[in-house]
Amino acid sequence: MIAFLVSFLSSWLVPLLVAAVIIFGLVRKVNVFEAFVEGAKEGFSIAVRLIPYLVGMLVAIGLFRDSGAMELLVEYLSPLMAGLHIPAEVLPLAIMRPISGNGSLALLTEIMQSSGPDSFPGRLASTMMGSTETTFYILTIYFGSVGISKTRHSLPVGLLADLGGFLVSVVVCRLAFG
């Protein structure tokens, strides 16, 4: 049932939505193409304004990963995980998740291939991946697009949510998958 719903939605949702919006627009006598172009114009300037912020953030994250600092961090945190009975395989993912979307997707793929998607680490990693967002990327582009440099408590809030999502994933996967 869930499987059907998910596959149905992931292939039908966008086409249906686009068609419905355009048809409804026509019914309401909106000049749909003109309205579309009017709205689309703003897309370019917003995306271009992001570039400096993205360059800054991606360079810092790339350096942190390529220099081996990320690995070192994982190594230091491993004993803590073992104490909490969390499989060691998922720790790099937990640390990478808030920092880099592409990086965490690569780690998730690796866990799926080495442990198998239906293993406990595979299921836990899947749940963790879906339960939070790439906090750094979101903060960078959302605040960057409007030029805000004082982000107040947004970073700690985002990281706390990541930690919460991680811990709840562990508990709920233990309960659901044993």
Binding site: L9, G39, G43, A47, S67, P117, S126, I148, H153, S154
Partner: protein, 194 residues
């Protein structure tokens, strides 16, 4: 705060590479990431244009009014100081709907549009407002009901039941969003107003 973290990432990385005798890896890493950033931004241009175009049709045809009525209690609770008819509210609601439906590539354009409108309500353009922080709390904690990317990856790696993690993901993401909203309220209250 992000500034210190940014500086920390870079300085620690360079120091570590120097200690390990791998300093030659630093320069190529910088250039690779800088290029990648522009690729990401350019990839966003088309998506932004398309979804903001669709959003304009939604606004002009009046569907937005229906959506606003439906989600009004939630919006009033989360963003009490954003005027109901302000364009920021439309963009926030579109962003939340896209997130819930697992349409990540549509959520970002709506989210950035919302930030632009929220910025117009901001008396101090360099500093985030309470509303922006709450909005970011929602977005960084993710609201997804359908983790589409993960399901696709599970199927591709031979899972017998790719969707079995939908239930656990919904529980975990609900909790992470609650943590974010509660933390947002607590930290906001402690702020020293200047």
């Amino acid at each position: 705060m992000i500034g210190y973290l940014w500086a920390g990432f870079i300085c620690i990385a360079i120091l570590l590479a120097a200690l390990k005798g791998e300093i030659s890896a630093i320069t190529p890493s910088i250039f690779k990431s800088a290029e990648q950033a522009v690729t990401v931004a350019f990839g966003l241009i088309g998506l932004m244009a398309f979804w903001l175009g669709i959003m304009k049709i939604i606004e002009e045809s009046g569907i937005m009014e229906v959506l606003k009525k439906l989600l009004r209690p939630l919006a009033l609770f989360l963003f009490p100081r954003v005027p109901r008819d302000h364009p920021a509210m439309s963009a926030i609601l579109m962003n939340m709907s896209a997130n819930l439906l697992g349409m990540g590539n549509a959520a970002t354009p709506f989210g950035l549009r919302a930030m632009e409108e929220l910025q117009k309500l901001n008396p101090c353009p360099e500093e985030a407002t309470d509303e922006m922080c709450t909005f970011l709390a929602l977005n960084t904690s993710s609201l997804t009901l359908l983790p589409t990317t993960v399901i696709a990856l599970r199927a591709a790696t031979g899972s017998l039941n790719p969707t079995e993690i939908v239930g656990t993901t919904i529980v975990a993401t609900t909790c992470s969003t609650l943590v974010a909203l509660v933390a947002d309220r607590i930290f906001r209250g402690r702020r020293v107003r200047s």
